[in-house]
């Protein structure tokens, strides 16, 4: 006589019971418990009959059932919020989706794929932080720069993840795990997608590679192209020589070499020398002199011995010193002095 009750039907009954319970929420607990106990027994009796008629067809919607129950039992009509019929509609739609064979198929497939997710989850747990910290040698994460450590940690994480997946957890732990897994998957996806476009970050900056000293063909690049010299001025407009420049981390700044000159003359770089005779590449301005060996397209005789500082317009600071106004013109004649002197060596 006791026909085995399909799990879907049991779930349907539980949902129905919970829905009616919600509809009766405003009643005294004792009254409510008694009514629900009756309903539970009734649903069990209906289930034993083993026909496939859905509960909502047999008994009406939970809201309608509760209303009829109240009316017959002489209980007050629900005073609190009346649930909208739309909510019922949505619930019924969800129930229909739930009951659809495709839903069952998807659920089965998901159940079969769960071990694969456990493995992926363990891998991502190690790989994601490494990818974020750029400690990454695809596909092996290298925590703290060590691939060996990565090769040890990944299997450990996978083993832990699988063990966790096999265990029966409390509902709250399961929820936590689901949320954590979703965040992990989402972040990994973002990193994976973002990673393919990361090279574009380098455009417009000097070099992405960090050296103790900025070196390379063009270590400094402005929007106009490689920077080949820096011409410092004091606030009062005095052109400065032998100014040492460092970047934000204290690394000496170095510029690229200028190879092409507008006048077609060939010049070579004479960097300022330190006391021990070693060139100081981050002392500015750098000094270019005419190539003693000639070269270039123009007749060396026609070349300016010194490439002077270009005209610049300087801002006028609040007057602390008198010569501020004279600066723009003073800049040009002062500049050639150094190169000419250097040209002599």
């Amino acid at each position: 006589m006791t026909a085995p009750i399909a799990p879907g039907a049991a779930q349907e009954a539980r949902d129905y019971l919970a829905d009616v319970d919600r509809e009766l929420a405003d009643l005294p607990a004792e009254e409510r418990a008694a009514l629900l106990e009756d309903l539970e027994a009734h649903l069990a009796a209906l289930a034993e009959e083993g026909d496939d008629c859905p509960i909502v067809i047999r008994l009406g919607s939970p809201a309608a059932y509760a209303e009829e129950l109240r009316a017959a039992a002489g209980l007050p009509v629900q005073g609190s919020v009346r649930p909208s019929p739309r909510r019922d509609e949505v619930r019924r739609l969800l129930a229909r989706v739930e009951a659809h064979p495709v839903t069952g198929e998807v659920r089965r497939l998901w159940a079969e794929l769960r071990p694969a997710w456990w493995v992926l989850r363990g891998y991502l747990l190690i790989a994601l932080p490494c990818a974020l910290a750029d400690q990454w040698d695809f596909p092996v994460p290298a925590p703290l720069g060590s691939r060996v450590l990565g090769l040890l940690l990944v299997p450990a994480a996978i083993a832990g993840s699988v063990a966790l997946g096999r265990r029966q957890l409390t509902p709250s732990a399961t929820r936590l795990l689901t949320v954590g897994g979703s965040v992990l998957a989402l972040l990994s996806f973002v990193v994976a997608v973002g990673g393919t476009s990361s090279p574009s970050y380098d455009v417009g900056y000097a070099t992405p590679v960090v050296y103790d000293q900025a070196v390379g063909e063009y270590p400094l690049v402005s929007r106009y192209g490689p920077v080949t010299d820096v011409l410092p001025y004091a606030a009062d407009g005095t052109p400065l020589e032998d100014v040492l420049l460092y970047d934000q981390d204290g690394r000496p700044l170095q510029v690229g070499l200028q190879e092409w000159w507008a006048d077609g003359c060939s010049r070579v770089l004479r960097q300022p020398l330190a006391a021990d005779g070693v060139p100081v590449p981050h002392a500015f301005p750098q000094t270019y002199v005419l190539d003693p060996a000639g070269g270039g397209f123009a007749d060396p005789a026609l070349c300016d011995a010194a490439a002077g500082r270009p005209e610049v317009s300087l801002p006028i600071f609040p007057a602390t010193a008198a010569p501020a106004t004279a600066t723009p013109t003073a800049a040009a004649p002062a500049a050639p002095a150094a190169p000419t002197g250097a040209a002599g060596d």
């Binding site: 006791t2 009756d38 309903l39 009796a45 008994l59 129950l69 009316a71 017959a72």
Partner: protein, 108 residues
């Protein structure tokens, strides 16, 4: 006319009458009412009515353990229930006779 409107008024009488024949649990009462011809009776209405009659002291209840499923709560009629049924029955008959007379009599 919608029978469910009529049912509401006479459900007390019907339920008491069913339980007077023999004790019954909720679903059992529903089935017996339907078998008797009151097909439109709603499950919730029967459960609600049983509950109300029980609280009014017209029915007593007892639980029968079941091996096959949940325990069943049986309802039995008591003296108070019988007297309620008797009164309600008289009212019902008077009412039915009056309506019958109206229906049978030629439109005056």
């Amino acid at each position: 006319m919608d029978a469910s409107q009529l049912l509401k008024g006479v459900l007390d009488v019907a339920v008491l009458a069913v339980v007077r024949q023999s004790d019954g649990y909720g679903y059992d009462v529903v089935r017996r009412l339907r078998t008797a011809g009151l097909e439109g009776v709603g499950d919730a209405s029967v459960y609600g009515t049983l509950r109300r009659l029980y609280q009014a002291g017209a029915l007593t209840s007892y639980v029968v353990p079941s091996d096959e499923g949940p325990h069943r709560k049986y309802y039995a009629i008591n003296d108070r229930g019988r007297s309620v049924l008797e009164d309600s029955g008289k009212t019902w008959r008077t009412f039915v006779d009056a309506v019958d007379g109206l229906l049978d009599g030629a439109p005056a």
